[in-house]
Each structure stands twice: as C-alpha cells, then as structure tokens.
C-alpha cells in the first residue's frame, strides 16, 4: 500500500516566460497534439512520441492530509511503453473495436502550460487538460480533468514526447473506459 508523494502540488520552480521560444514551441506542440487526437489521427499521434516513451496515469486515491501520498505508486490506469501504445492504436484501426464505433466526440482543452528547461536539452512541460467526451446521441457526456507533466525531447523536425505522467483528478473515473489518450 505504498504511494507516490502528493501530486497536486504545483512545481515551485520558475517557468519560462511566455515569450520564450521554447515555451512557445512546447505550447504549440500540446495544442497540435490535442488537435491530432481530437480528429482521431492516432497514427499521427504515434509520430509525436519518442521510441522510448513512458506514458503513465497513476490511480489517484483519497487519503488523509499528511498521509504523504495521494496516488498509487504501483497501479496505473495507463502504464505504457511504445509497444503497448502501438497495440492500442492498431486495435482502433481494426474493424472490430466496437467501443469507439461509433466514435466518441472529444474535445481536449489544454491550458495552464508551464515550461521548464531541464539540464539535458529537454523541456519539462506541465499542462492542464479537460477532456470532454460525448458518446451516442442520448447519453450524458463525460469529463476527465487532469494535470500532465511531460518531457519533450528536441528532434530535427520539432519535439517528441518522451514521458507523460497524467495526474487525473478523480479517484473513481466517471467514464466507461479509457479507450482514448489523455
């Protein structure tokens, strides 16, 4: 029953100014990524990822203040490498992925972007995500609210996402499945 340290504390370091080209590149990367996912161009999304990507979404838990953790260190909703992400995308490409046929209508609102330079030429980028998901014609919509901490690695033609940790804000998700990417 171990957990990671409390995750909803903001990075206290000073982010890059909004006028900094690195910040602008990072922000644009996230907005373009959201557009790619919302138009369900999953192959295009994979091209934004580094081959050694780690894509994780720990399970959040409700704990007493002072417990020292509010997510599970050893259990995620996602805990993916490139193989696993490729398989998920490949599955959506079959004729038999019923859960997204008809597809959800999604809109990813990406805000509160904070960019930090790391020592390795990479950028650490934090953002807020509100994902609106509508399925079918009569069902209530779902919302997923999350923070994301990403590592963007420079590449000759832009950046690649090398790591993403998704801090979801619910301990009990109110969406039928995670047949989508955050």
């Amino acid at each position: 029953m171990t957990g990671t340290t409390e995750t909803n504390t903001a990075n206290v370091n000073v982010p890059l100014r909004y006028t900094d080209p690195d910040h602008q590149d990072a922000h644009q990367f996230l907005v373009e990524e959201a557009a790619t996912l919302d138009r369900q161009d999953f192959a295009g999304w994979l091209r934004l990822l580094a081959e050694d990507i780690r894509y994780v979404m720990p399970v959040r838990v409700t704990t007493a203040r002072g417990a020292g953790f509010d997510s599970l260190a050893d259990m995620g909703h996602f805990d993916e490498d490139m193989y696993a992400l490729r398989k998920r995308v490949e599955r959506f490409g079959t004729q038999h992925a019923w859960t997204e046929d008809p597809p959800s209508r999604t809109r990813r609102l990406v805000t509160n972007v904070r960019t930090f330079r790391t020592g390795h030429g990479e950028l650490r980028v934090e953002s807020y995500l509100l994902l609106f998901r509508s399925r079918g014609d009569t069902r209530d919509h779902d919302l997923l609210s999350a923070g994301r901490a990403d590592i963007l690695r420079p590449a000759p033609d832009g950046h690649r996402l090398a790591r993403r940790e998704i801090t979801v804000d619910e301990s009990v998700l109110r969406t039928q499945n995670l047949a989508l990417f955050l």
């Binding site: 838990v61 007493a64 696993a84 398989k87 079959t94 992925a97 859960t99 009569t138 039928q176 995670l178």
Partner: protein, 453 residues
C-alpha cells in the same frame, strides 16, 4: 407492480425478462434480499499488511473500514459514528491507530473500540448516561477470510464462508494459491459505468460465446496468445457451488509445458505443482484446460489471461480480481485489481502487471469493448418494450430443456462441466439470483448504542 415470482419462473426457464437489467424495483429486491445476506468480497489481506493499515470499501450504500488492528486481526467496521452517524473515516486507505470523528471528536481505536468521548462526565454524567465501556463501531455482522480474500455478510446467520464456497474453492484456489505465499493485490482501479451490475457478473461466469466477436480486435492485432478466437469453443465451462467459470483448451503437453505455454517461469511452475492438489493439477495436466474468467456469486469475478507483452512475442499471464459494485439499477462501480503470486520473481510481477494494464481494467483492450456492450444493454432495458421481451438464455439446451451434449466425463474438477459454447453458467448464476429474490429479507435486530444497561 413487479411479480417477482413470475420473473424468477421465467429466469428458471432460461428466459430472462429484459427489464431485470434496468429496473429500480428489482434493484430494491437485490439490496434487501441478496446483498443483505450474501457473502460479499471486500478486500484482500495483502492490501492491509501492517497493523493500522486500512481500506474503506462498500457493500452497496454501506461503508466499512477494513482494518488490521494492533494485534494483526482483520476487522470490518461500519463506518458510522455511534453518536451522530458521521463517517469516522473519509479516506479510501491509509494507516491509523485511531479514527476520530470530525463532528464531536468521538474516537475509536483501529479495532473499533470507543476510547474517546469528550466531556463524558459533563455531558452524559459518565457511564450512567452513556455506557462508553465496551462500545465499538458496529462490526460487519459476519466476516471470514479464504486465501487472504476478506468477505463479509450482512446476515449474522450466514453460513461459514468455506461452507458457502463449497466446490468453487477448488477453482478459486487455482487463481489465489499458486504458492503457499498466496496472492498480492495492487489497485484497485475504480470507475463507474452506466451498466447493470449483473451483466458483468454473468459475462465473466460463462460467456465464452462473446469472445470470438466482442474481442475480435485483440485477436486481429495479435495481442492474444491464442491465435483464433473461435478456439474458445474448445474450452470447458464449469459450475461448482456458488461459482462458475470458463477455461481454454491448451495444446498437448504435460503440466510443465502447458504452464510454460501460457507464460509461467519454471520456478513458479514448481511452486504450483506443490501448492495444487492432484485434482487441481489434473485439470491442466490430464484435461488440458486452463482457467480463464470466473464469477463467484454474487459480484466477484476473476480473470486469467496470457497476452503477448512485447514485439518479440513474449507471452505473460496475469490474474485480475474485479468487483461489480452496484450503485443503482443502471450504474455499477467497477473495482479492478491486479493480482499476482506473492512469491513470483520481480521481473514476472513487472511483466504480468504490464499484461494486465494492456488487457483489462479501466483502459484494458479487452474490457473496453465489454463495457460498451453492457452500457448499451442497460440503456435499452429501461423501457416498456423491454418488459415484453424475454431474452433467450437457453444456449446448450434442447427445446425439452436437456443438455445438447452430456457433461464432460472424467473432468478433474468438482461440479459439472461442459465443453463448447453454452449458457449453463449464466443460468446457474441467475438461478442463485432467483433463489435470493424469492427469500424474505433476513431478520435483524437494531443495536442501541450506549443506552442504560
């Protein structure tokens, strides 16, 4: 007005009135007659290994603190202060020596005993006004443990858990006791689906028929070890005591080669050989069947599967436990745990966890398609026309109600097994469901807390 006897009579014919999958009247009966009596899974001992460790779990609307006290005893205590009814613990998990009510600071030890009552003398005149001595949070009326799995019943007259499990323990232990160390659980992932709780329970109990179609996509992409989903029809379906489950037919081999086929390393196979009885080994070794999905009535399901976890085709098995926690007639909270033999080597645990996350749980590629189906069923089961439709659940029976083929002869496990497709298991599950719905609710007494003795 609901005619429950008629509903159950239809179910016993293998015809399911479709509205049972979204009917508030049925749900009220399930609450009062089924969940008020049945043994219900709450947690696993590995989730609370140390004194003071606790998790908070529910049986429908009833919240229980499942805690290990300072002596190591596992208890389940109704999470309601004896004074004004506040929940004394509002976290999901943690470690605590005491639970202090935020309202008036009544304080309970982690074994449930009331040890703090502010102004006891000033406010109550001491023991005469409120007899503090010997008071504790209401314990679950019955609690019992099997292979580390903690169950409670709201019926103080519930039979002993082991008696209840009966022949299903044989199969449960194939998942839960791969070595004397038993399972360790991680999680759970929790999410809510707009689906009736019975659909998942029935599906895991015996719906091998859905695999070739619902899960065609995971076969298409080569995720699953078994190359053709229609292999499913070669598996055996078994019913045993309060449980039922599905199996896969394995290629020819002995115990070792068949367990290697699904991805177990030799050191785990050695431990399984020692932990399992001759008959349990025989299920794999002689009969060639490997456990897959199963449900223990009412709402605990298990799954064992063996996908490919990397580009080189490494096959690794995983076990998951999941609970279909009813919220209402049309909503269920799924709690899904990853489970692994505690004695397994660390690299196996790592890989098995990866296999689990890819396949089952909130993002699992198998589970995604299941839930879409179940939500859709529930949605359309609410209406008037659903009350005019009895769904056919007679697969495997002739018109006269006889099995299309005889039970498997010489099957190593207890209970009754059939090879091939059939809805024997779902009917078995629904038959138990009907039994509960026809019984009057258990009689219980109310407890006066702290009244004059």
């Amino acid at each position: 007005m609901l005619d429950v006897a008629a509903v159950v009579a239809d179910v016993r014919r293998g015809m399911i009135p479709a509205h049972v999958y979204n009917d508030p009247e049925i749900f009220a009966l399930e609450r009062d007659r089924l969940f008020s009596r049945a043994w219900v899974f709450l947690a696993h001992e590995s989730e609370i290994p140390e004194p003071g460790d606790y998790v908070v779990r529910r049986v429908l609307a009833d919240s229980f603190i499942v805690a290990r006290d300072e002596d190591g005893t596992v208890r389940a205590m109704f999470n309601m202060c004896l004074h004004r009814g506040m929940q004394v613990c509002r976290a999901e998990m943690g470690n605590a020596s005491h639970f202090r009510c935020p309202y008036h600071a009544w304080t309970y030890r982690n074994d449930g005993r009331l040890v703090g009552l502010p102004f006891h003398v000033d406010a109550y005149g001491g023991e005469d006004g409120f007899a503090k001595e010997g008071q504790s949070l209401l314990p679950a009326p019955a609690l019992d443990v099997h292979q580390g799995l903690i169950f409670i019943s709201l019926d103080p007259d519930a039979p002993p858990l082991r008696d209840h499990l009966g022949d299903f323990a044989f199969y449960l232990d194939l998942y839960a006791r791969q070595s004397p160390a038993g399972l360790e659980l991680r999680g759970p992932q929790r999410w809510r689906i707009k689906a009736n709780w019975k659909i998942g329970a029935e599906n895991f109990a015996g719906d091998s028929y859905h695999t070739p179609h619902t899960h065609a996509s995971v076969v298409d992409i080569g995720l699953f070890r078994e190359p053709k989903a229609n292999k499913r029809k070669e598996g055996a379906l078994y019913t045993a005591g309060p449980g039922a489950g599905t199996t896969y037919k394995l290629p020819p081999g002995d115990l070792t080669t068949r367990l290697r086929h699904v991805g177990y390393p030799d050191e785990m196979i050695t431990r399984m050989r020692g932990a399992w009885t001759r008959a349990q080994r025989g299920l794999v070794e002689n009969d060639g069947f490997m456990i897959s999905a199963a449900t223990l009535f009412p709402n605990l399901s298990l799954v064992h599967n063996w996908p490919k976890i990397d580009d080189s085709g490494t096959v690794v098995p995983f076990i998951s436990l999941r609970q279909w926690q009813p919220v209402s007639a049309n909503e269920t909270e799924v709690l899904s745990w990853f489970a692994v033999d505690a004695a397994a080597p660390e690299p196996f645990k790592r890989d098995s966890y990866k296999a689990y996350v890819m396949c089952f749980g909130s993002s699992g590629m198998f589970e995604q398609d299941d839930v879409e189906n179940w939500v859709s069923i529930t949605d359309v089961a609410a209406g008037t026309m659903a009350r005019r439709l009895n769904l056919n659940s007679r697969m495997g029976l002739t018109s006269a109600g006889k099995p299309l083929k005889p039970p498997l002869a010489g099957f190593s496990g207890p209970g009754t097994a059939y090879q091939g497709f059939g809805e024997f298991n779902q009917r078995h599950w629904l038959s138990m469901w009907g039994d509960h719905l026809l019984r009057p609710p258990p009689v219980h007494t109310s407890a006066d807390m702290g009244a004059a003795r």
